[in-house]
């Protein structure tokens, strides 16, 4: 099969590659660009470990062909830290609130939560849970993942984080 030329912006950097049309975006990111932050979990569009931000939408990169992302602006977990190298509020929240155990789901969780907070900067706990419903944590650490996102929302809004009483 003839290869297709694709160009896109990934974490602020322009990239241009030849790909087979059947190349999935997740394989393109991991194997061509060596961005191994987005993980391959279920490969069936369920788990969300491969989530990346594509033109302002959270997408499961195992269910998008790289050719479909031609011209897109993509952000992965590798592009999440602040320009000065300090952690993004979400990354800090996951560290502070123990938002990860094995860490496999974390890049997808943070990338998804990033878009969620872009759309709703002060979500309720229910909105957070509904908003990350496409991301599975098989350690089942959801309680602390939700807290981590609340921590990040508070930090981005410049208000002190108040952990809800259990």
């Amino acid at each position: 099969m003839a290869k297709s030329q694709v160009s896109m912006k990934v974490n602020g950097k322009a990239v241009e590659e030849l790909v087979e049309p059947r190349t999935l975006l997740i394989h393109f990111l991991r194997e061509k660009l060596h961005l191994t932050g987005p993980h391959i979990g279920c490969e069936t569009s369920h788990c969300g470990a491969c989530t990346v931000d594509l033109d302002g939408k959270s997408v499961k990169s195992c269910t998008v062909f790289a050719v479909q992302a031609n011209g897109a602006d993509i952000r992965t977990i590798e592009g999440m830290a602040n320009p000065d190298g300090t952690l993004h509020a979400l990354q800090e929240g996951f560290r502070e609130m123990h938002g990860l155990q094995c860490g496999f789901c974390t890049p997808g969780m943070i990338t998804r939560a990033y878009r969620l907070l872009q759309e709703n900067n002060n979500p309720t706990e229910e909105e957070i849970r509904f908003g990350i419903a496409g991301n599975l944590c098989r350690c089942t650490g959801y309680q602390n993942i939700v807290k981590a996102i609340q921590f990040a929302a508070a930090k981005l809004n410049g208000v002190p984080f108040q952990e809800a009483a259990e």
């Binding site: 999935l24 062909f65 908003g131």
Partner: protein, 288 residues
Amino acid sequence: MIPGSFSYHRPSSVKEAVGLLASLGDDGRALAGGHSLIPMMKLRLATPANLVDLAGITELKGIRADGSDVVIGAMTTQYEVIGSDLLAAKVPILRETSLLIADPQVRYVGTLGGNVANGDPGNDMPAVMMCLGATYHVMGKAGDRRVAARDFYQGAYFTSLESGDVLTAVRIPVPAAGHGFAYEKLKRKIGDYATAAAAVVLTMSGGKVASCSIGLTNVAETPLWAEEAAKILTGSALDAATVKRAVAAAEAITAPASDARGPAQYRTKMAGVMLTRALARAKARARA
């Protein structure tokens, strides 16, 4: 999981897409959001030699009012349906239904056109479109035609679309102001297809049902329009005895498969339970 090889086409107009699909015949498939097709390709259950990506066709996008109808372009995503103020005001059952489809990531990409055109009995929008009396705009080799949603579904993954056809838009007659509506979906978990689901749109007048329409999801090879059940309810005050008769009539037209979502008998009963709940909620929302 890696799909089989294919050639990728990205037409910029419906005409070009139809021409491509017509000339490719069975070797070509239209690609909308891809969230049904790409998983099938990864499993090699679908192995199209050519994909015709509709994403570059701007005329397939957008939501607009047209007289007493709303027209939704086929490539409009579930996310855009959820965010539409026009739809929230005119046809709110669409937002309620979209929010029950899959998960946020899938809704950003999955399209209304793909959902209704695929013919998957598990998809939620087809029964809602039958309930609403929607019409599908289809462009094919011989020009464009319109097909009623209620006539469109012939079997699982089998619709009145022919090779070379592209479903371009969905036209929905706006239900009367003050109508009640509900989509009730039983699912095992977020992201799952329905064990059974029911869509209801009704109007009330003087405490009685003035009009009623019912669609059922995933309890047969096709979505179902429960015409007889709706007829039984029309003119009633939705009293318990009449609702029971209507639910029995709706259950009678189901023919679900026994699968991981439960045995057939259970799924039929759940269709009845979903309908009962949808009727109660639609009534509570209706004016007068």
